[in-house]
Amino acid sequence: MHLKIENLTKEYRRGKTAVEKLSLELENGMFGLLGPNGAGKTTLMKMLVTLLEPTSGTVKYNGFLLGKDNQDIRRLSGYLPQEYGLYPSLTAREFLNYFATLHGNSSKIDWKKRIDVLLEQVNLSDVANQRVGGFSGGMRQRLGIAQALLNDPRLLIVDEPTAGLDPSERVRFRNLLGQLSGDRIVILSTHIVDDISSSCNDMALLASGHLLYRGQPAGFIAQAKGHVWSTTVTPEHVTAIEKKHAIIGSVRHMDGVSLRVLGRQEAVADLPNVKPLDPTLEDAYIWVMEQNPAKQVVL
């Protein structure tokens, strides 16, 4: 599977540009999409799955062109939106059957078998014949994931998929996506940085409709190397430090407050007992966003 996005732009009415001249090429594997609220992630994904029409630019999926071959694109893609509803009066199995019907019967898939496998995969086999209206948030999310996987898509796009899941479900789902990404493109958009650091081999940071970074997570983390520090201060000093430095973590102890501070070496020289730390993806995300204040979306 090969996905090529060229100069993709989406302008909403009243001049708001959600995505601007974005170019990206993706091959099979898990691709993480990171960005603040309002960065244009959801708009980008909606364009990729034919729900939104781009203002300009082209998107090609293995030779299929967005806008021209939309039905073919729908046949090879699966999408789990950030916000969606389910028909509460249908059972989980009936719900998946209905979506299988929408995929059409020309496909070679044995839907009954496929639905059984998916229900098993998302851990809903036991409640397959219960109505969706009584499902918990996590169960609904898992059913949403199952419908996205129905057609065994070559391009799977998931928007904040782990938001409603408990930690063990989250790990299970991340592993499932990881397994799937072997022979397809999986685009994972999330605010949960952990999800990207533990499952993606490729990522991008999107802000104000522009790409700020594209590459491996390790390369992204490296951008913050030498800029993350720890210090321990008395509680009275915290407010003063906060005014001068970006504090990204604080833990209160009996003998003071341990702070995780972001900044250049010369800027943190005034802090007591300052020690360098290995950056995480979250540190890198905040560092990069701090360096690009114009791209931060103020809501």
């Binding site: 729900l51 939104l52 939106p81 916000e83 969606y84 249908l90 009936e94 979506f99 059409g104 019967n105």
Partner: protein, 514 residues
Amino acid sequence: MNTFPLTNQTTQISKDEWRLQWRSWGTWLVGLFLMAVVISEHPVFSIFSDFSLAEAAGLWADRVTIVGSLVAILTVPFALDRVRRQRVAPLEFTKPFEKFAYIIGKFAGATLPLVILAAVSLVIHLAITLATQNSPIIRSMTVYLTQAALVTFVPLLFITSLTYGMSVYIRRPIVIIPISLSYLILTTATQASADARFSWFSAVVRPDYFGGVIPESWMSIVLAHHAIYLGLSVVLLTLAVFGFQRGRFIDDRMPVKWWKQVRLPTFPLIGARFRMLGNGYFVAALLMALVAVANTMSNPNPFLRVEYAFFGLEFYLSVSGLLILSGILARDKESDVLDMVLTKPVNRWRLVAERLLPALILFGLIGVASVFVLNAFYEPLPILKSLLIALSTGIYLGMVGMTVANLTRNTLAGVGVGMLYWFFEAGFNGRFTAPVYLLIVSHQLPAELGDVWLNPAIWLPVKIGSLILSAFLFIANGWLLDSGPARRRTVTAILIGYPLIFILGWRLIPIFMG
């Protein structure tokens, strides 16, 4: 495009839509209430008893057509809207279904209530005929099916196609319903008031207007009429298939809503409260007010102008009241704001008053405008009495709708039950609800209920009493928003209290009136 998979997909989609309709309590509620109304209209219950088998079948098929049309108007627009309202659109519209299969499949599935209605009505008719006329069952069935084929099939297909076709272009059923109702009522009511037996503008050909059976001499005209409406149905469905756009049901692609650019001045509290009322329900309420005025002014009878004005003001404006008032509190739950509202230290009485006052003012303005338009351009009316008629029934019906909406936490349920109450009263003419009969001005009470109920000195205080009762219930509704024992107690009180009041009214009012 391969035809076989397409047909297969259409069938599958229609089956799934059938399932959704079957499991929708709203569909059942609409169907059952309207069936009750239509049963009350069966010719054998009439004071006239010399109906032939064909006349009885014709009149029954006629009632089934009218009720079926109402069922179609109240259920079919929701088939496509459900996808948007239940937020399934982002999942559904990324799937590679064929437009034809999707639209026609959904249409076929949405007709389920009508199919059931037709089947049930056949059984009921046969049972009644068998019990009262001693006619052989096969003959009764043949006569009925002939009449149904002639009277029912095409109008129902047309009304279904019309409402469904509109739902492809207009996303809000609450706008489609009044438009379709207006069409149905105006075309049939105009016929009745003009004493015309047939109208090319109406999809319905009523044997009622021909005295029971359509005469042979009219058959060619009726068949031509049906051929035209059959053709129009096909055109409407074709337009629905071609006009369907996935994006129309996904909010991001909505065109700029010009009316959202209009901002009322933000006076403290009032501006925002009024803006909260500006939605599809308000547009529908305005449409009903227009129907009230238009229908009244289309009355050709010069001797009954005041009566017609009263009829319009009560019959149609009560629906406006229902539409405006029903959702003013339930909306909080629907837009997921309720939890935030209830955790604030706001006085509930103030909350209720802040919602009620603008809604009443808005409905009052609609009522006053309607009365003054009729007074100026139609017939001089007694202003105070007209206003009382225009507003009291609407507020009362609105309170009922609001109670249901708050109990179910669903505005549509409130409006739906209010509409059913309205149909029920229009159908039974107060036979079961005389003390607080909803449409006391618009419909005459049956003579067998006696002089007590026909005395206008009763209904005015009773209606005002009902208003006070509703106002009390409304204040209680403010507390209904909380879940827990208090809510359960109030629900129980309402469910037991309402029927009790009716029973007591039935028994006590005639005694007091001597």
